[in-house]
Symmetry: C2
Amino acid sequence: MVDLQVYFLGTSGSVPTVERSLPSIAVKRKGEILLFDCGEGTQRQMIKAGLSPVRNTAIFITHMHGDHIFGLPGLIQTMSMMNRERRLMIFGPPGIGSFIRAVHETANLNSGFEVEIFEIKRSGVVYEDREYEIQACSNDHDIPGYAYALIEKPRPGRFYPEKAKRLGVPEGPLWSRLQRGETISLPDGRVITPEMVTGPKRRGRKIVYSGDTRPAENVVRLAKNADILIHEATLGDELRERADVEGHSTPSGAAEVALKAGVKKLVLTHISARYRDVTNLLLQARKVFPETEIAFDLMKIEVPLPKD
Amino acid sequence: MVDLQVYFLGTSGSVPTVERSLPSIAVKRKGEILLFDCGEGTQRQMIKAGLSPVRNTAIFITHMHGDHIFGLPGLIQTMSMMNRERRLMIFGPPGIGSFIRAVHETANLNSGFEVEIFEIKRSGVVYEDREYEIQACSNDHDIPGYAYALIEKPRPGRFYPEKAKRLGVPEGPLWSRLQRGETISLPDGRVITPEMVTGPKRRGRKIVYSGDTRPAENVVRLAKNADILIHEATLGDELRERADVEGHSTPSGAAEVALKAGVKKLVLTHISARYRDVTNLLLQARKVFPETEIAFDLMKIEVPLPKD
């Protein structure tokens, strides 16, 4: 069973359409939910996707444009009505704190749980869990913004039972501990480290989200070898100049980022309301990077562990 | 052709569901759009209903709970992106101004048009057009709130061509002016008033929206003889006590208001997320007031001119 899924909750840019809600992406990992951006309508899209707002641990905001943050007040209110008790962490550029506090103070937004806000001042690791970390890096929009990467820490290497047997480690709980990466002591006093019975550590998975941005070298670096790069492609290649002026990307621009970063798969999102049929956008990107898809609302991608 | 329609944009209470968006009602009258409440998702529901945010003249907010106001920031932003130039009027209880200003100041909400905010301090006429007025009256929720009525002014009475002929008014433009309610002068100096050639003035239409409230005498008075009363019915009759504690109505409570007010039709809305099948709610109301319907998202009701 795959324990990592990406849900595209809202895939439009700037204004919603009949088909596309405003930007938000949920990553569900071992039951935990991380949100990236929270446009208006996110809470309802979560309900439609079967994702509980109560299991949401943290929200990462790319930039302070309304279409990426106006779902926060309603989501916080709904979490409160669902009697959430666990704290909620919100990460974003400077300004995210004053926005949330201002809504709190003027709109009866009483959360029965702690909302902890982290304003990101520079690129780097912004959140670290036992098994993964979230990195932020500056992107290139018309206001300051961040791209984010979820990077799983390396997993313990493959376990070799023959090696364990040869070293006299009895099958059972001690094997499990070695498999989890723990060092053990045998009754005769010998110390066995995981490295003595396992292969090299195995890489985890990596998912990168560009936020609103022109094609940017920073994002190429962040996305290096990612399993999935989710990149904005607001306007088609025929409007490349306008995209550049407004701080956005086109499909081929996003595809070039994917190509340079050597990612496995590119998913385009933040599609302008002007495109109802996205075939042309897809062709523009695939010419540069064939492994491209265009996100649609409630699309779900499974990210299996790499085979190695 | 009927020139007055009511669109139910969002019909849930407190939290959205797969089927129901958060509260908002649009009244379209002769091409003009008036919104009542603006829960999260309203702008997208307008798009789905084919209602242009640019033709929206005024928004009337019943009370300052998030589920009724969190669609305002995104709607204002979208109006701005659509290059709206006409001013937007927003009416609501005290506090609506500081909420909108707080979002303006903290979230890059730059509207290219004037947003004029009217905080309603007491019951009465809050907005007057040439052909209709909007009355607000205090309702009975757990925070201060208003019910609203759209009341069309009486239309000129029926025109009697024989009377005009008998008075020597020549057929043509002078007839039209009399029909529109204007007084005219004839070439021979005689003055003809509309009353001399028309029947009694004819009543206009009346639409009333309760907002979140317990059954309230104030709302009964406001709704007197209304064509449509839109009343909240958050919880079923089996939860009447809880509804009362939380400042809400049940179907039979709302139906009693409709009965006392002698309205033509009752439409229940603000349905709790716990009810997916609303049959019981409908039966509870119809026992008291048979002309009841339960709103669903994007339901549209035509309100024809009364026959008289």
